[in-house]
Symmetry: C2
Subunit: 480 residues, 2 copies
Amino acid sequence: MSKEGTVKKTGKTVTFLLYLCSLVSSSLTPFLHVQTCLGAKKPFTEVIKANIGDAHAMGQKPITFFRQVLALCSYPALLEDSKFPEDAKQRARRILEACGGHSIGAYSASQGIECIRQDVARYIEKRDGGIPSNPDNIYLSTGASDAIVTILKLLVCGEGRDRTGVMISIPQYPLYSAALADLGAVQINYYLDEDNCWSLNITELRRALSAAREHCNPRVLCIINPGNPTGQVQSRQCIEDVIRFAKEEHLFLMADEVYQDNVYAEGCQFHSFKKVLFEMGPEYSNTVEMASFHSTSKCYMGECGFRGGYMEVINLDPEVKAQLIKLVSVRLCPPVPGQALLDLVVNPPQPDEPSYATFMKERTAVLSALAEKARLTEQIFNTVPGITCNPVQGAMYTFPRITLPQKAIDKAKELGLVPDMFYCMRLLDEEGICLVPGSGFGQREGTYHFRMTILPPTEKLKVVLQKIREFQLHFTQEFS
Amino acid sequence: MSKEGTVKKTGKTVTFLLYLCSLVSSSLTPFLHVQTCLGAKKPFTEVIKANIGDAHAMGQKPITFFRQVLALCSYPALLEDSKFPEDAKQRARRILEACGGHSIGAYSASQGIECIRQDVARYIEKRDGGIPSNPDNIYLSTGASDAIVTILKLLVCGEGRDRTGVMISIPQYPLYSAALADLGAVQINYYLDEDNCWSLNITELRRALSAAREHCNPRVLCIINPGNPTGQVQSRQCIEDVIRFAKEEHLFLMADEVYQDNVYAEGCQFHSFKKVLFEMGPEYSNTVEMASFHSTSKCYMGECGFRGGYMEVINLDPEVKAQLIKLVSVRLCPPVPGQALLDLVVNPPQPDEPSYATFMKERTAVLSALAEKARLTEQIFNTVPGITCNPVQGAMYTFPRITLPQKAIDKAKELGLVPDMFYCMRLLDEEGICLVPGSGFGQREGTYHFRMTILPPTEKLKVVLQKIREFQLHFTQEFS
């Protein structure tokens, strides 16, 4: 009974997009692994998962201070233990005092614990050079994806030609396409400019918007900066242009800024949309509607499992805000351990506190290693015939373009696979390296890519890059 | 721009239901509190929140063993600390070994960590007297509400007369009505029998179903056992009848069993739908489609803030299961600390382990106190003229009926309030006690109720009951 109905319902548009989404979630790997292991003996001893932005799974160690505070919050008897530094205890006491019954096992307010929202607002103010942030505009969430889906749910409506259109970059992070298909919104693709370091081009935005106006009602513009899967960091000028465009076209801006600490390239800098918006003056800062998203899963902490995150909304109409509060109330509250962790991310040890030195050492080590790996990745890939790789300016991925011989494309078609999926399956099978085919993110017709994280430890990453190099040469030869 | 669209979209059906939903979430209390505090000086010193099933917020202490393991998982350096018992360390090591990079900061598989799903299956098998449970049928979730919404999303489809109808009890837990409105499903009300201890009556199910067949396609039957907000525990006979009915009418059964340890009344016992289904023989156990839900938020642990939970699906078609996997992949994974906590709930200390005695002592203390408070609540309420209270057989709420004088009903209407909302607002204003009006859960036309948790500590609960008693007398007098 349910089978037919369900398949009928989700079968149409959602299935394919959700399939793509599953490509970037951790579910895929065991599946591929099993496929791999079912075959003959393989010429590798380990599958290296470079398919998902999961820092701890790749061996990155948690930040000591964060985990100390979380242990203290989980088991407050440890507050009497002299082994824990005073600043960790002070943070834990403050968080516990803000919890019902002083326990992280109590529900919080659906919008999140108030003092944590205050800390988030202070963090944003500091980040943005003093531009005010109101804790009432902060909504804590179950990772950034939860908040992104919630906002889309709030904004998407209409039927037929009135259906809400949402502009997303291609390549994109598949959460967006999956959520849009699920909500029945129209996905409006704008293409990033691969030849210009995956930059965003306002002419292309205009083209995409005006084409979409023929068949839907475009209302939302999504930006990922720094970019996933493309690793570009937007210039201040580009952000200004985007904001001007959003204002002119009455678009709601969704700024996915979860990689805000992940900027590596010289001359690049993270500019928050909020800051640029306010620096453009009241004509913009009082009118453009916006939501910005952040998470505990990326940056230097990589705490994906805790599902912590927040969004800040700007210029949201009070009536819409009331609907938003109701929407978030249905799920009761975001996980409180994730809220506690977020509090530490936005309020880390300060220079006069005992944990500062260790914290800074750990944070810097992670970010420097990522910068080094970003450089290495671009450098090595660009020595491989048939691979072209833009600089990894930020985030934690590279999205190189691969040239596939026509015979390989034909072979893939014969097997019923998209060509870059065929490439990635072969790579997994022959070298034990798990990447995600570019088709999972979208790419210009006739081009092929893959996404690889730069998260493996440096020595392992070098091995991965070397193996991909050899595979590419060998694959090209085989199909030439 | 977004304002109009959003309000237009959600304004129709969702708004009211979401409003009701917010009544049971913690968001409401501050709102009421503020309302209260804005007025004149109040004749009470503290607002007692008996509106939400939030055990820790009401002073219940966490289970020591659970929090020790969570602290160890959060900060594994503590595994070297001799203060922690060996069984706690062993559990923490096992959980960490199952995590990517041995960190609870890594993503898990979207369906949940495999060894935890195995532990859940073993727990179900033990609970159900050996009836097999397959870990592949277990899906870990962000609290039970997440799993409930996911399954509804999978099952609801169609337009017009083909729209999926979902049968829910009245009174109901407002998550259901909110989710149905959000998904565009038809809510089919069946009324619980207040005169018979809020029992479920098959004749009433038939009536509701056949009336609904006129205008939609009924496909799902939701049961909450033990009941929220009504506190009844279903008999084995009743469960058999429900299963027979579901089979005959080709309904998907959703069994919300989050209060499975909360059974207090003599002669009452928790029977899982799964167990009864399998005991009815293969004719039923091979055909009836079902999902059962559990959570870390209720029972003796009351760990709401961790948002842990699971569902077990039975007889789900493999194609539908594939869709389910895709659906849960979009949000990446349930919070890993909540998964770890769930593992402890389903795999608590065993008699030969060092933490067993303390664990059992703590568990028993919570459950005995709840049983005592359940008894006390019924007893005291039934001495109050104008209040009629069924036995609180299970769960953690009472849903007594209140007789309101016609003048009070008129006054409420004059103020634009439903009568039991007026009653609850006055109670809050005069006595500082926060309850939820029965209209938030649904009730038979012309009857009035409120929901109160039995969670306040016994001495405080006595005060609450005494104050409600006085208020009821005084309120009745005022409006007579």
